[in-house]
Symmetry: D2
Subunit: 130 residues, 4 copies
């Protein structure tokens, strides 16, 4: 991803809030790569919401930088997933983040069970335990 | 603060990223209330940057809600401060966050020592130890 | 409204896009002042969308400025309203904008007729012609 | 460009403000394609600011859409350029915009003359008149 004017603040660096937008873009593409497009991850019945977030800002990104944002699954529970995300510019790590996402019912925002299909895709190696 | 369209996502709730904007607004007003206006906290020589951030999203805010955002100092070190911030709607706590801010040189982005004046204002009770 | 870090770009001035957020906030408060809260202007059946927008940027707003955003009705048609909005800092005019908003059905996004109540409130002087 | 959650509002469509971010991204890439990277279009001495903007919203973009944003030069004056930008999803035109950008001194924000190199690149056909 490229850093544009919209992302930066008067310090000439990316505004700390905006890295979280980049992370959401990467999560969306990560889910898409597993076969879950938007209708699978945000639909009339359910959606993911962020429950917990921890971010360590190691080094700033600047206007016009090209950055790479990763997303990987740390753990999968009945109604939530833990993810790890990092942002790099070249070999430099800029941001290290972990977050938990809960799958909720859109009407009452209560957690609801992830489908077996999604749990398998997110952690194929835990097949036996589901 | 009021929640406007710009703050919400298609889930009808505040986009998780935007709570961090509200927290920055509250930190700015907190510093101003201590006598440090923008020129004291972001100037040609130095500025605060967020180093670490931990956020727990307890309950969402909705379009048109009026929320209250707090900011308090948890600790003050030589070049950084730890803060605690919470967001409430009425009596309900929506967000619980802690973060550390580092005071950096704007040219090289290296940490630099907070002025005694700022450390005193942020933690008047630690006067003796400075 | 106060200008915060989130609103500014590396030029140290408000990013041109963000003035439109301020204008939306002012329109929301304008409608609320006429008795139309969010459920009246954005609900399950209908919502306003911006159709046309013309903005003239006269002078920039800077970090920490306090600005005032106006909203007034220029004309009301069957399914749309024309508005004029200006942004000021003290006596200086920073932005001069006009826009047309269309009231649409949320399912198909087709224009639908404004209620008589809304047209009256927006232009009480045109009572006779409705 | 892909439409992400950050771009959409509770109406499920792109928030009207955010199309202008997409247009800025396209202008940046357009300038880069002409050989003017960020240091040429936004530097310590000068930068472009938007002076006038007219946008017609023809049809909305939705979450997950892939859109294409164009940028072309309509005219070049001594210190400003006029541009035309359109946003498409497939063959559908979603947004039609025109804007004027002024090249200003970063210290006093006063217009300053575009370099001959930039005027030539933006409109090679007007070589004779420069």
């Amino acid at each position: 991803m490229r850093i544009y004017l919209e992302d930066t603040d008067p310090g000439g660096i990316v505004y700390y809030v905006n890295y979280l937008k980049f992370m959401e873009r990467a999560r969306t593409e990560f889910m898409r790569s597993l076969g879950f497009d938007r209708s699978a991850t945000f639909n009339n019945a359910s959606m993911f919401v962020v429950r917990d977030l921890a971010v360590r800002y190691l080094s700033p990104a600047f206007l016009d930088d090209e950055i790479r944002v990763t997303a990987s699954v740390a753990n999968v529970k009945g109604a939530s997933i833990g993810m790890r995300q990092n942002i790099f510019r070249g070999e430099s790590e800029l941001v290290d983040a972990s977050l938990s996402l809960v799958w909720v019912n859109r009407q009452n925002l209560m957690p609801c069970r992830l489908s077996k299909e999604m749990r398998l895709a997110l952690r194929p190696d835990i097949f036996d335990t589901i």
